[in-house]
């Protein structure tokens, strides 16, 4: 399974919208903290990570949560993981 960044971005935003339906994907700034732009509480955030895991098969360690701040962070993290698992 290989993913290019734009395709992965669409999947991630898709999942985000399933949790926060009011989100306008075009309005998300990939450099700003996601949880400042979208109203996500810790349960929403957990559900977001669970959905990423289920959809992409990527395991996100709890110790890594702190790295996942912006949309770009999330994509970087996922791409690195997916790349490693492909290899």
């Amino acid at each position: 399974m290989s993913h290019d960044r734009p395709a992965l971005g669409r999947i991630v935003l898709d999942i985000l919208r399933s949790i926060a339906p009011e989100v306008e994907p075009a309005a998300i700034d990939p450099d700003r903290p996601l949880r400042h732009q979208v109203d996500l509480d810790s349960m929403d955030w957990l559900n977001f990570l669970v959905a990423l895991h289920e959809r992409l098969g990527v395991t996100i360690a709890e110790a890594d949560y702190a790295q996942l701040v912006t949309l770009d962070n999330v994509l970087d993290y996922l791409l690195a993981r997916l790349g490693r698992e492909d290899a």
């Binding site: 509480d41 810790s42 349960m43 957990l46 895991h53 395991t59 709890e62």
Partner: protein
């Protein structure tokens, strides 16, 4: 004969609209089964029944809005035999408030036998069905031989009646919910003499314990700090039970079990605080699953009546929004609300030195008619101590605390 009444699904609720029946006359029901869906101003709620029985008669039709306490249906208790229609309780039509009055269904006349002559024009199956539905078959136009009323005529009459009712009207949920919150919170501020206490709690041990516990576990089995806090509140209430229960009719009723109402904000505004039952008696894993399920169902609008009607205390966690301290408004008839702010590093003095530690501010808003600051302080101190021993807290699975001990005598 069991009367199934519309329960109160929250302090602000004085009426509700029946949206749907899940069981029809003749169906057996079990204690705890969801039998109907009722729309309150806040949400559509699955209403459970608390007795076994067999559905006898719907007294309220889908679409009708009725006051709390109205008999929605009657059921036969196990072993009970259906009484003759003429002897059943009056099928009193509750004050329904439909937008447009539907064609009135002829009801079974109260304690009055149907004239024998009229019986001839109604088929036996139609008469039985009409009795089940609580309508008068003699008022239905017959299309059978010699103008007799058939089973199909009865069904058609009921269908026409239901069709004329307004469909699950969910007017402006936002405005309705705001109104409901306004009523409840105004009552709280008017009637409850609140006092407020606040205590910073070091979270280093709890977080380290959680990180270790969650490590290597699939994401779906990891536990959030909020669950540990929930558990700690229930455990601390065992020490200070005066904060757990209801203030009704001028007196406090202590609840032996902790049913924690968890404040859940809804997307687009408003909030609900449905209960997780018997928090003290459940392990963390189960609490986590139930919390996740509750949040999901609260947002999808499928809460159960028992969750809405009986929280004994409310817990609100606003830390996710980055707030440090919550000053809560008690949800009547409860007598306390526990708030948690965000968990963030802050200065902590230990052995004469200042250190940066993850801290959370826990607050208590409590009802001065029932408890005093001294007891509130004991509660927060206990909460702080419990969160310093996360392993012991996790292992603490106790049956619902009894009424004894320190419950009485406090002034």
């Amino acid at each position: 004969m069991i009367e199934f009444r519309l329960p109160s699904l929250g302090a602000e609720m004085d009426e509700g609209t029946l949206l749907k029946w899940h069981v029809k006359p003749g169906d057996a029901v079990k204690r705890g089964q969801v039998v109907a869906v009722v729309d309150t101003s806040k949400a559509a709620v699955d209403v459970e029944i608390w007795q076994d029985g067999v559905m006898a008669e719907w007294r309220v039709q889908p679409g009708e809005k009725v006051p709390v306490g109205t008999v929605l249906a009657t059921l036969l208790a196990p072993g009970e035999v259906a009484a003759p229609a003429a002897a059943t309780a009056p099928a009193a039509v509750p004050q329904s408030v439909p937008a447009a009055p539907p064609p009135a269904l002829p009801r079974v006349p109260e304690s009055e036998t149907t004239p024998v002559a009229a019986r001839l024009a109604v088929s036996p199956s139609a008469r039985r069905r009409a009795r089940e539905l609580g309508i008068d078959p003699d008022g239905v136009r017959g299309t059978g031989p010699h103008g007799s009323v058939t089973l199909a005529d009865i069904e058609a009459a009921v269908a026409a009646h239901s069709a004329a009712l307004p469909v699950a009207a969910a007017p402006d949920r936002q405005a309705e919910m705001r109104k409901a919150i306004a009523v409840t919170m105004s009552r709280s501020k008017r009637e409850i003499p609140h006092y407020y206490l606040s205590e910073p709690i070091p979270m280093a041990r709890a977080l380290a314990w959680l990180l270790q516990r969650n490590e290597g576990l699939p994401i779906t089995e990891r536990i959030l700090p909020a669950v540990l806090q929930l558990k700690a509140v229930a455990a601390a209430l065992q020490r200070v039970p005066q904060l757990n229960g209801f203030y009704r009719d001028g007196a406090f009723q202590l609840s032996p079990a902790v049913h924690a109402g968890v404040a859940i904000s809804l997307r687009g505004g408003g909030l609900v605080a449905p209960a997780i039952h018997d928090v003290g008696a459940k392990p963390l894993e189960q609490l986590m699953r139930e919390l996740a399920d509750l949040v999901r169902r609260a947002r999808a609008g499928s809460l159960r009546s028992s969750e809405m009607s009986d929280p004994t205390i409310t817990i609100t966690n606003l830390g996710d929004q980055g707030v440090e301290t919550v000053f809560g408004v008690i949800y009547p008839p409860q007598v306390a609300l526990v708030g948690f702010g965000r968990v963030a590093p802050g200065p902590w003095v230990q052995e004469g030195a200042v250190r940066a530690l993850p801290l959370v501010t826990a607050t208590l808003a409590a009802d001065h008619r029932v408890s005093d600051g001294h007891q509130g302080a004991l509660f927060l101190a206990e909460l702080r101590d419990l969160l310093q021993q996360p392993q012991a807290l996790a292992e603490r699975v106790t049956p619902a605390p009894g009424q004894g001990g320190q419950a009485g005598g406090a002034t």
